[in-house]
């Protein structure tokens, strides 16, 4: 029923799917597998994980201003096995755009809206990328590292 870590690694080992797959200690990091994908690989990864019975835990962004990149981090949990997978992807900072996950995990819609609020990251194909937590007319992205909103 519940997939093993090796199975999941196998899933990502195919060419072009993941940039890197790093197993991690849960005790040290809090998750078991750290997968890095290109923006195009986000949706296939999500589909693969959904097929394995994973649920979407959270989506968050990180603004790497020094590297001039925006990172989006996807967390997955599995209800039956104690497995946690992190999928991350980066895009250039001046044009941060990622595909939306809302067709695979409808729960991603809110997370993506929130990430858009905070970082201005766009999610292509998102049905309504309007501010979620910020006022409807907000034009600032408070968690970007440039400084004050």
């Amino acid at each position: 029923m519940s997939p093993t870590l090796d199975q999941i690694r196998e899933h990502f080992s195919g060419p072009g799917l993941a940039l890197s797959v790093t197993p991690t200690e849960h005790a040290a990091k809090g998750y078991h597998l750290d997968v890095s994908v290109a923006p195009a690989g986000i949706v296939p990864a999500a589909q693969a994980l959904y097929a394995l019975g994973f649920g979407l835990d959270a989506i968050t962004g990180v603004d790497w201003i020094a590297q001039n990149e925006m990172e989006v981090v996807y967390d997955y949990f599995h209800p039956a096995s104690p497995l946690r997978i992190v999928v991350r992807s980066r895009a250039p900072r001046d044009n941060p755009e990622f595909p939306t996950l809302s067709d695979v995990f409808p729960g991603a819609r809110w997370h993506e809206r929130e990430t858009h609020d905070f970082f201005g990251i766009r999610f292509a194909g998102h049905p309504n990328l309007i501010p979620l937590l910020l006022p409807e007319d907000a034009d600032y992205h408070p968690l970007r590292k440039e400084g004050a909103p």
Binding site: D57, A58, R84
Partner: protein, 375 residues
């Protein structure tokens, strides 16, 4: 794989109207606004509009040194402040590889579980208030006061505790805490029986909750719903079991699940969790070791660069803190993954076509704390 939910504007068929519930509405448990497109009494589409109590916790997490952020955690979900304390100090301890003395871990478990009970009692009373029953609120608050007395004696505050510290807890148990807690447990069990007679077995309540608002396990996974919501769908997912933290692996408790997936199942899960929490507290008191309650912590705490997560089972479900550190005193990025956020996000899909009263019962059964959603 089921078809994804299509977002479409409410069609102007003429028979529907838009009901704006909130931001101030008695059933919204705070400042939640729900835009409801209604056809008479039926909810065609209920779109939660949130952010009315967004308090910039994540921004503050990046602006303040780690120790300065600690008091904030108790205010994200004020009903289970200690779990949020726990997740944050856990993440920091994990990143900084701090040792926590076993006595501190046991104290953390005891207080967390007491906090869980008090949180569930507030949920129970607020839920029944939504359903129009007022008296249970008062009974539950009376019992909750007893827990608050215990925790206030220990921590000095009643609600937004700031009791855990990196590497342990602030102070040891106050004298007599164990006896008073045991006394409380002994008093609480007959009260739970009374709750069952008064409310759980009540035909009106059962009629209002049974077969109302079914949430399938698949829906939970798609929206990331956790805690009593997913357990009410029959999935035995509990962070205390799945990723055992603290000393939960040494304690014996059940993870209650109910496969009916309706509001009643979620209700029963929480009622059963109160029983289990009482069990955990009892065991932890028995096993409580001696020793210090605060480990060795450097005066200025800097985390090694990296990405660290720590998840706990808060009263409302899986709460995870992610700290992305760049080696400075403050986190580079601090993400709070809160259970209510995910639990509410499925409301729009789950409430389609329900009666208004049932939709509100469903909303109540999700156990929302709005600042926990908005952060």
């Amino acid at each position: 794989m089921s078809a994804p939910l299509k977002i479409e504007p409410a069609t102007g068929s003429g028979e529907t109207f838009v009901l704006n519930l909130g931001p101030q509405h008695p059933a919204a448990h705070g400042v939640l606004r729900v835009k409801m497109t209604m056809d008479g009494e039926y909810v065609m589409r209920a779109e939660p509009v949130i952010g009315y109590i967004h308090r910039m916790h994540e921004k503050m997490g990046e602006n303040r040194p780690l120790a300065h952020f600690l008091p904030n955690t108790g205010r994200v979900d004020y009903l289970s402040a200690l779990h949020y304390n726990h997740a944050f100090v856990g993440a920091v301890e994990r990143a900084a590889k701090l040792e926590v003395p076993p006595r501190a871990e046991f104290i953390r478990v005891i207080t967390s579980e007491l906090n869980r009970i008090s949180s569930h009692l507030v949920w129970w009373s607020a839920f029944l208030l939504d359903l129009g029953g007022f008296t249970p609120l008062l009974y539950a608050f009376d019992d909750r006061e007893k827990i608050l007395d215990l925790l206030e004696g220990l921590t000095g505050s009643r609600l937004t505790y700031c009791y855990f510290r990196f590497g342990g807890v602030v102070e040891d148990l106050d004298p007599g805490f164990a006896e008073r807690t045991r006394k409380f447990i002994a008093e609480m069990r007959p009260r739970l029986k009374m709750y069952r007679q008064l409310v759980t077995d009540n035909i009106i309540l059962r009629k209002r909750l049974e077969h109302i608002g079914p949430i399938s396990p698949d829906l939970c996974l798609k929206y990331g719903a956790t805690g009593p919501v997913i357990r009410g769908s029959g999935v035995s997912y509990d962070v205390r079991r799945a990723e055992p933290y603290s000393v939960y692996s040494q304690l014996d408790f059940d993870v209650p699940t109910f496969p009916e997936s309706d509001s009643m199942a979620r209700y029963l899960v929480r009622m059963e969790e109160i029983v289990q929490s009482l069990r955990i507290v009892e065991q932890a008191l028995d096993k409580l070791p001696d020793g210090p309650v605060l480990g060795k912590v450097p005066r200025v705490l800097k985390l090694p660069p990296g990405d660290y997560c720590y998840a706990v089972e808060a009263a409302r479900g899986r709460h995870m803190v992610r700290i992305v550190s760049d080696g400075k005193e403050a986190a580079y990025r601090l993400k709070l993954r809160t259970p209510s956020f995910s639990n509410l996000s499925l409301f729009e899909e789950a409430s389609k076509g329900m009666l208004l009263a049932d939709a509100l019962a469903l909303m109540g059964s999700l156990d929302l704390v709005i600042p926990d959603i908005d952060r």
